[in-house]
């Protein structure tokens, strides 16, 4: 059963139609503004009637998002957006369901629903605004904050080994895993399209700058000066190339990524690692491109793009199939038969 079909007949609407009458209330300079803008730009392109779109969030700065989208929406409770969305999608496969969540919302208090949603593979989209901090509560470290991070709750530095969101998502049987950033509108828009296109639970991590409590967390990836050297954009079927004018590449020796200088001859793009979205093992290696996790090896750029994609039946479909099958087998339920049950007797 195909859900949220791209319907060309759908009444057209523009980004402006997605703006609500509510004043947007994020700190000036917050990365959330850019994400909101890109989402409002992409959604009208998708061919989904506006009234069939629902944004569900938990609690956090990022979770204020639904108030600013003129679609259906729910600002639920902390950590539970994934669970609410699961129920909504199960009940209403026809809707396009988007989850907006923060790193604390999804991976701290919401960790359980997050991993269970991924394994069940409801056809919904998760937008994780990862700013590696608790923003709304004014700056405590989160499960994605790096070790040693000094915050209000960790004056001597955090001692928590953080989650690698992708390793966790892959471990939880995620069927679509991608990363983008607030400061790269073009890439972010492309990732939003892919996120929507995937049938199954699409997990898009968006690096988002919290300029008040964790400013510059992703600077090296987002700033012109360092971006080319520190970020690599992977595309299916293409070699892993990055660096100033694409002068660097990555190849695998055995299971270990090695950086190749393409300016040295003998080194050719042909020997490079060709990105394959369907390869779970490679996606696993890619997701470990965190210096903080892999010591003593080349300093690797942070990958952006679709890491992994797998086609697996969606939960809401399987659920519907059983209802349909049951009706086919037993016929649509008749209430009076149900009320009377198997054994009855009469008293006169």
């Amino acid at each position: 059963m195909e859900t949220t079909t791209q319907n060309p007949e759908a009444p057209k609407f523009t980004s402006k139609d997605l703006v609500t009458d509510q004043e947007v209330r994020w700190c000036p300079g917050c990365g959330d503004y850019s994400i909101l803008k890109q989402v409002q730009t992409v959604v009208p392109e998708l061919g989904i009637p506006r009234e069939n779109i629902v944004f569900i969030s938990g609690i956090g700065c990022s979770s204020r998002f639904p108030y600013y989208m003129e679609t259906y929406g729910m600002h639920s409770i902390h950590g539970r957006a994934t669970a609410v969305a699961s129920g909504l999608k199960a009940a209403r496969p026809d809707l396009s369901v988007w989850i907006v969540t923060g790193d604390g919302d999804s991976m701290s208090i919401g960790g359980n629903h997050f991993i269970h949603l991924l394994r069940r593979n409801f056809n919904v989209n998760i937008l994780l605004f990862n700013n590696e901090i608790y923003g709304l509560t004014k700056g405590q470290y989160s499960p994605t904050s790096e070790e040693g991070k000094v915050t209000k709750s960790t004056p001597m530095g955090s001692i928590d080994h953080p989650f690698n969101p992708f390793a966790l998502a892959m471990g939880a049987e995620g069927s679509f895993i991608a990363r983008s950033m607030d400061r790269d509108p073009v890439h972010l828009k492309e990732m939003l399209r892919r996120t929507n296109a995937h049938q199954g639970t699409s997990f898009l991590e968006i690096y988002q700058n919290c300029n008040v409590f964790n400013d510059g967390a992703f600077e090296i990836f987002t700033e012109k000066s360092s971006k080319k050297e520190e970020a690599i954009f992977v595309e299916n079927g293409k070699p892993l190339i990055y660096g100033q004018d694409g002068t660097k590449g990555i190849k695998l020796d055995g299971f270990h990524p090695k950086i190749v200088d393409l300016t040295i001859d003998g080194n050719s793009a042909n020997d490079l690692w060709i990105h394959d979205e369907s390869d779970r093992v490679k996606a696993g290696i890619l997701s470990r491109f965190f210096d903080r996790h892999e010591k003593g090896i080349d300093h690797l750029p942070r990958p952006f793009g679709v890491f992994y994609k797998e086609d697996r039946k969606c939960y809401e479909e399987a659920m519907n199939d059983q209802v349909v099958e049951a009706i086919a087998k037993k016929g649509a339920g008749d209430l009076n038969r149900l009320l009377q049950g198997r054994e009855i007797w009469e008293i006169h």
């Binding site: 069939n52 149900l338 054994e343």
Partner: protein, 615 residues
């Protein structure tokens, strides 16, 4: 000596044996046969604690109590007339519930040395031989031997053969109570349609048990229990959890809303899930979530999507749902939360019954968080009560808590089931257009103070809702102090208004005015009703009202209370309704409290009535 036939107006039989002995099945068979014959009845199983304990031990004993009669039956009964004891442990575990002079049907094979030891009888002692049971009528049968003998020619292995033991006992009881065996024969024939040899064996043994009574002189007499005077109509037997499941489906069908049931397994609520999962052809979707929080949150999502959303658990799981219940009441979405209460606190006594979650239902959330609460009074009433809970949830756009308990959940009684067409209508009206000129106001209210239900997919009614305080009508986030107070009062007023749309409190029995009123709620209904009947028969001035609407309380409850000199409130807790009544109506009501993981017996309440009226 020759066998005479006695007529009795009611009998209580306790079937007790090892988990493996099939006592639940034996009990159910006798129950259905009695029901079809027209007796009124009430049953209650008592399982061993969750895990199967070792064979032959007291924790391993599984029991099934049946109370049937030609008179009206309100409870599974207090002490039993007949105790079937398949082994020593079964006897030991149940002796104290046997009436003086009662009958014991003992399977002598279950009283061998090993069994006696497992049941920790003192070395050498054997109740069925050492005369320690004088004063009771002891019928000893070597059921195993008889069964094997009956199946001498059978091709079955010894294990299967022994599994037919319970049929021997059943046959013997059918003889003893002059029962027709056709129902059971029909049942067995269906059940073993594919296993001819097993079927034959069971039928043989059943007959052998019957004949045994006829031929031997073990039992000196037979008994007749005539049909009861019950309102004419068509009846079925039903258990509480079953009734709840059917009630939900009925509400779904009558409201035209698909049922979405999101839950996480927990004793004693799980059977509702098991039951509903069978009815997918009624458009039912069951969702076994990762935990209770996910379960209720998923139902909130489904409710937002326009379904009849229901979640269920027992005390500890309900505690986990508290935060999300608060969300549901802020969102003002229909949701039914079922609590099949068990012994608490904490993990407590998972397989035992209790009524100690009333406070939790009324007050167990942060902030001013009023939620309507409805309690069921009997196994069959679970159908009607949960149906009403669905109606209120949908028509008032609010979460509603439905309280059942382990006693109701697993107990059964005859039910004069309704016709689909006779059920109250439930009207879910979805918003289809803007309700304020060019705007759609998600929190604009109707005469019930309910807000409109606009489903995703409805063009032009796009809106956002959430758990932050919201502005009157627009539903936008509002930090305005006046608005907050207004909304807090509005949410309270909405729940209070339900009392305008629900029936006034009725007296179940007794006079409008008088010396003593007994107020009960939930599963104390049967025990109280029985006690009041007996007390009135003895000439005591006592009336009975059973409260179903725990919140809001019926508008006329005060008037009723003020008509009596004394008010007694029996509860299977330390006095929760009691303190609510005292607070709301300022009357010095008296509590009768039992927190033993088991229901009141009518006699316990009767004793209290007599004590109060002596004064």
């Amino acid at each position: 000596m020759e066998q005479q036939n006695q007529v009795l107006d009611n009998v209580i039989i306790k079937f007790a044996g090892d988990s493996g002995d099939g006592m639940q099945l034996t009990g159910t068979q006798f129950t259905n046969t009695a029901a079809l014959f027209g007796n009124d009845l009430s049953t209650f199983p008592d399982f061993p604690a969750e895990i199967r304990a070792p064979q032959g031990t007291i924790p391993g004993v599984s029991g099934y109590q049946l109370h049937f009669g030609s008179v009206n039956i309100f409870t599974p009964g207090d002490e039993c007339d007949v105790l079937v004891a398949m082994n020593a442990a079964a006897l030991k575990a149940n002796m104290r519930h046997l009436k003086k002079g009662g009958t014991i049907i003992a399977n002598s094979d279950g009283f061998d040395h090993k069994n006696l030891r497992l049941a920790n009888f003192t070395e050498g002692a054997n109740p069925i031989l050492d005369g320690s049971l004088d004063g009771f009528r002891l019928i000893t049968i070597d059921v195993t031997k008889m069964t094997r003998a009956a199946l001498a020619e059978s091709t079955l292995g010894i294990k299967e053969i022994d599994r037919a033991k319970n049929m021997f006992v059943l046959g013997f009881l059918y003889w003893m109570y002059n029962r027709d065996m056709n129902f059971t024969i029909k049942f067995l024939t269906e059940k073993f349609s594919k296993k001819q040899d097993v079927l034959d064996a069971n039928l043989k043994v059943l007959q052998a048990g019957y004949n045994y009574g006829d031929t031997t002189e073990t039992a000196t007499s037979r008994y007749t229990v005539n049909p009861a005077q019950m309102p004419p109509g068509v009846y079925r037997n039903i258990m509480g959890n079953q009734a709840a499941a059917i009630g939900l489906i009925a509400a779904s069908q009558k409201s035209g809303l698909e049922l979405f049931y999101g839950t996480y397994p927990i004793t004693p609520a799980t059977d509702i899930l098991h039951e509903l999962a069978k009815y997918k052809n009624y458009g039912v979707k069951t969702f076994q979530a990762e935990d209770e929080i996910a379960a209720i949150c998923a139902t909130i999502g489904a409710s937002f999507g326009g379904k009849l959303a229901v979640t269920a658990s027992s005390g500890p799981g309900i505690a986990l749902k508290a935060e999300a219940m608060g969300l549901a009441l802020m969102l003002e979405l229909p949701l039914v939360i079922i609590n099949v209460q068990r012994g608490g606190p904490s993990t407590g006594l998972p397989t035992k019954t209790e009524q100690s979650d009333l406070f939790q239902a009324l007050y167990g959330r942060n902030g001013e968080a009023p939620i309507p609460v409805i309690a069921s009074m009997s196994p069959a009433d679970c159908f009607h009560a949960v149906y009403e809970a669905c109606r209120l949830a949908i028509e008032f756009m609010t979460p509603v808590i439905f309280l059942s308990d382990g006693f109701l959940a697993n107990g059964s009684e005859p039910w004069r089931f309704p016709k689909a067409e006779d059920l109250n209508p439930i009207t879910a009206k979805f918003a289809t257009e803007k309700n304020d000129g060019e705007r759609y106001l998600p929190y604009k209210r109707d005469e019930k103070l309910a807000r409109p239900w606009a489903l995703p997919g409805t063009a032009g009614l796009e809106h956002r809702i959430g758990g932050l305080e919201k502005q009157h009508e627009t539903g936008n986030i509002s930090y305005d102090p006046e608005n907050h107070e207004f909304m807090v009062n509005m949410r309270a007023a909405k729940v209070a208004r339900i009392a305008d749309f629900t029936p006034p409190q009725k007296l179940d029995s007794g006079n409008e005015k008088g010396k003593l009123l007994i107020i009960g709620w939930g599963s104390t209904y049967g025990p109280i009703k029985g006690a009041v009947r007996d007390a009135r028969a003895k000439g005591y001035d006592v009336s009975h009202a059973q409260v179903r609407y725990m919140n809001p309380l019926p508008k006329n409850l005060g008037e009723i209370l003020y008509n009596f000199d004394q008010v007694l409130i029996p509860e299977m807790n330390t006095g929760q309704l009691l303190s609510i009544i005292r607070d709301k109506y300022m009357i010095p009501a008296i509590g009768l409290n039992k927190v033993k993981g088991m229901p009141f017996s009518s006699s316990e309440i009767l004793v209290k009535i007599e004590e109060l009226q002596k004064k």
